[in-house]
Assembly symmetry: C2
Homo-oligomer: 358 residues x 2
């Protein structure tokens, strides 16, 4: 009844290979939710064998499936960010934009969202209302509708106010099939704007980490930006929104999935001054800091100028920049050329630097 | 780009009317997640105004939308059941069957699921693996694929081992449009089997409520059963799976949404002996106890015999029984004829009798 064509290129479940086996952790640690190596191990060694299907094995930000003749992207994310409200947004904004962006990274036009609340007994209804209103406002801004929902309540001491889950579906136009496996040597690597603001905004207000930097989250819906990019380059090879684990993790995932080498030039990666300052203060690398309104694109070289121009003409892409390219050398590895003229391998982090960033 | 036709009959958002305004609770109480009057108030007075769309306002178990020419059902549920493993199933079974059943109640053939885990730091990985394997096994049994997922981790003391969210999509055949608003006087009310087992199974193992009754959860996927029913009656008027709040809540929701009166005969409602005994012991009414593998159907009178026969020929419908009918009297109210010959109004419960039943 429903056939599944995950991508126009065949996906080999073994092509995405986790560097190491599931570590001998007897219990869940925070890093398992950090989007880095520990998360990848959990997916590869626990969830994939348990579910056993090749669509999930494609390891894209969303699944691409065919149903009733329609090519659909389908994605889910839970949100446990702390605090619920932070400079530049709230858990409600993240829940809408995060899932909208996962759909957009499959080339889809996001259309419909679900929204599930897990509430902790005792949280103020006014807080729930503010979150729901943020969801509604963000959905309207992203051009999607929240069409189905659910509410569960857990006892005090078994939650943290509000956890959200959003899932989403969108339509993938014919001929469009960006996926991590499709990056090839020669592709130009473009980011849509300065990186690191979301993670630093969360850290700036997290208890014990206040440092007064004036950084607001970059949370934004990227469906329109992707549509503008696809209008000039329908055959974009790969798209990813660098959330948990930051830009480094997205680049690493695409390099690993495609088996191509990725080379970036550190000084070409746009980083806001305040983020640089905060990273210096906290001893962090901006390449590993979470974003919630940025994407990285792997673009065929002959379309790179057109894509860059289309991005810069769009509000959420005005700061777009070329940061590197795919190379035939060091297949599957990401290498950064440093400001000092050296090179370093950009590896997958073990987990997120700060838990519960989204 | 995407048009939304929630149902073939127009849905008036004001037609589903909550009996009372949002109560003056300053904070969330467990009843807000119980699927009864408090949940309904939250949906009507908080979520609907925040999201502002008519698909959600249809208040069906899943939304029906059109995307790329395909008529799709889309549904979501979070699962916070305690304990994670119980007689007859686990949180993984519930998460698959619950969402599969919500899709089926829209007449859809369930096809694809998402699965998001919210893990508590310190939970054993072997527990996570058992849950994931239950998800995989239940998905295979239900004929659906888990194609996308997500994992978040919260600190110890902010979760309860494992919370799950599943969302799902399915294809709704042309001409099929069951929804709560469509029940009319003359419809025959059929349940697919004995009620109350799931809730009693959970209660039987919940700390402090052990009473030794040998009851296992009825958790089961109902997609195939619905397909068999639709094969003989494509124009089924309404379907609902009576989970939180039990059969009484489902009947009440359909009566309210359609504005028709519903009359059931108490002694015709099948209740397993062990459930009856446990309900007597605990002082509960089986009509209000949760099920996870049952449905109630509102069937045009001339198709009732055919539907009943089709149900009884199907494993999950072998205990199907006619329990009542829709009447022109007492519009919007559910009335039960008691064994003593009297009648009583079956009202919406305030919340679930026991929290975290699913």
């Amino acid at each position: 009844m429903a056939d599944t064509t995950s991508h126009t290129v065949p996906v080999d479940p073994t092509a995405w290979s986790c560097p190491v086996p599931l570590r001998d952790h007897p219990v869940v640690v925070t890093g398992h939710g950090g989007g880095g190596a520990l998360s990848a191990e959990l997916t590869e060694h626990l969830f994939l064998p348990a579910y056993g299907n090749t669509v999930l094995a494609a390891m894209a930000d969303s699944a691409t499936v065919t149903l009733g003749g329609a090519r659909l992207a389908f994605s889910t994310d839970s949100y446990v960010v702390r605090p619920l409200f932070f400079p530049g947004g709230s858990i409600g904004d993240l829940a809408v934009n995060g899932t909208v962006n996962d759909l957009a990274m499959s080339g889809a036009r996001p259309a419909f969202l679900s929204c599930g609340f897990i509430l902790e007994e005792g949280v103020e209804l006014s807080v729930v209302r503010r979150v729901a209103e943020a969801v509604g406002t963000a959905a309207a801004a992203a051009g999607v509708q929240v069409v189905t929902g659910d509410t569960k309540v857990v006892e005090a001491g078994h939650g943290d106010g509000v956890y959200l889950n959003t899932s989403g579906i969108g339509l993938v136009p014919e001929g469009v099939a960006p996926c991590p496996q499709r990056a090839v040597p020669g592709d130009v690597v473009i980011v849509s704007g300065p990186v690191g603001a979301h993670g630093i905004a969360i850290m700036s207000v997290r208890e014990g980490l206040e440092f007064g930097a004036d950084v607001v989250s970059d949370t934004a819906p990227l469906g329109g930006l992707v549509e503008a990019m696809l209008a000039v380059a329908p055959d974009l090879h790969a798209l990813r929104d660098p959330t948990r684990g930051g830009l480094a993790t997205s680049l690493h995932e695409i390099a690993t999935a495609s088996g191509t080498g990725v080379e970036i030039v550190e000084r070409d990666v746009p980083v806001p001054d305040a983020v640089s300052a905060a990273c210096g203060f906290l001893g962090l690398d901006p390449l590993y800091v979470a974003n919630e309104g940025r994407l990285v694109a792997f673009v065929p070289r002959d379309r790179a100028d057109a894509v860059l121009a289309a991005m810069r003409a769009y509000p959420h892409g005005s700061g777009a920049a070329v940061i590197g390219e795919c190379v035939a050398d060091h297949p599957g590895l990401v290498v950064a050329r440093t400001s000092l003229g050296g090179t370093r391998v950009v590896d997958l982090p073990l987990g997120e630097q700060l838990p519960r960033i989204c």
